[in-house]
């Protein structure tokens, strides 16, 4: 059995504590199935690759959020290009992937997946701030991750929440 390198050890610790960050970022940017798995793998790959340059200059979670969001945003831009190549007229947000028909959704509503679908339908930057907010990060932490000022975060979050609430209104009505 070979000894673990410091990078592997650190990554192992990160996986234990922060694996959820990678999964949630992937699920917020990629629709289900192969895309989500690909993005999650890519995020893990980038986080593992970045572990060597981590010197404790920020909290591990901040570091992981940054790497994961940068990877997801880059992936998302690439996805947009790939989709445009396939169908120049298609709108990425027009039909949420895996959307259920009315009868089916009335019968069974996976609220978490509905929430993810709502998040994925938002513009990239709104997705990022909503995700960080739902994960319970403070404005200061969100500012460290995004590079925006706390004031900006506040404004962006209000705007993103309004958009998300609008998208989730249908579900709300359906349930009430």
């Amino acid at each position: 059995m070979c000894a673990q390198s410091p990078r592997d050890r650190l990554f192992g610790e990160w996986l234990g504590e922060h694996r959820g960050i990678m999964a949630r970022v992937a699920s917020s940017f990629a629709p289900g199935g192969a895309d989500r798995c690909d993005l999650e793998q890519e995020i893990m790959l980038q986080v593992w690759g970045s572990a060597e340059s981590f010197g404790g200059q920020s909290k591990a979670s901040t570091w992981i959020y940054r790497v994961a969001l940068n990877t997801a945003l880059m992936w998302s831009r690439g996805l947009g290009r790939r989709r445009r190549r396939i169908d120049p007229g298609a709108s990425v947000d027009a039909v949420p992937e895996g959307a259920a028909g009315p009868a089916e959704s009335a019968a069974k509503v996976d609220l978490l997946e509905v929430l993810y679908e709502g998040i994925r339908a938002l513009p990239d930057t709104d997705r990022a701030v909503i995700l960080l907010s739902l994960d319970g990060l403070s404005y200061r932490e969100m500012s460290e991750i995004t590079g925006l000022t706390e004031n900006h975060i506040g404004v962006a979050l209000t705007r993103a929440r309004a958009k998300l609430a609008e998208r989730l209104k249908g579900v709300r009505n359906e349930l009430e």
Partner: protein, 205 residues
């Protein structure tokens, strides 16, 4: 349902288990992609720099064979080496401004934007730093060879010379078109995406 309900649903989701990430597979995948990328970059850089050096060496050889009359070839060699040097300097500059993997989202977007703008600038000014020196060096070679030829030799034939210059101009014009097309089809859409992303990030409205 209000926002707190959605937050509750979010926080109730199960955290994935860390053990399903295969370190060996990640390492192999990372190293393979890193190796591929490094090799591609090396091949590109060497090819770009070497093409100029080989062309300059060939011109130098023919210039020397012409003896004293071949002195204008020195200018042609200098122009081609200048283009190669420019390529090398650009690569060095680009490698120095790369930012780390855990830069903030805004820093990453701005770095990508700066890199894309730099590429656009290079491609739109390709006529100045690439096509013009190459075309000029071609003209120097043609003029020198024609000047040394006997009046009855084909190198002095105006029709031949005109056709040759037209061919060179056409080739260079085609190279310019390819670069313009790359700007239009590849760079501009990405630039627009990045600018939108940056403006979304910074928009306070």
């Amino acid at each position: 349902m209000n926002w707190n309900d959605w937050e509750f649903i979010w926080r109730r989701q199960k955290a994935p288990i860390g053990a399903d990430a295969d370190l060996e597979r990640l390492r192999a995948s990372f190293e393979a992609s890193h190796r591929l990328q490094s090799r591609a970059l090396l091949v590109r850089d060497v090819a770009e720099a070497a093409a100029g050096v080989v062309a300059a060496a060939a011109l130098g050889y023919f210039g020397l064979r012409l003896g004293r009359a071949g002195w204008p070839f020195a200018f042609a060699v200098a122009l081609i080496l200048g283009v190669s040097g420019f390529f090398v300097l650009e690569r060095i500059r680009a490698s120095r401004i790369r930012i780390g993997p855990a830069a903030t989202v805004l820093e990453r977007v701005e770095a990508d934007l700066a890199e894309m703008r730099r590429q656009r600038k290079l491609l739109t000014s390709v006529a100045v730093w690439y096509i013009a020196p190459i075309f000029l060096s071609e003209l120097i070679v043609i003029a020198t060879v024609a000047g040394r030829a006997k009046p009855w030799e084909i190198q002095r034939d105006p029709v031949f010379l005109g056709a040759f210059v037209l061919l060179m101009a056409g080739t260079n014009g085609w190279a310019w078109q390819i670069n313009r097309r790359a700007v239009r089809k590849r760079i501009d859409p990405r630039l627009a995406e990045l600018e939108k992303l940056r403006s979304d990030l910074l928009s306070g409205s």
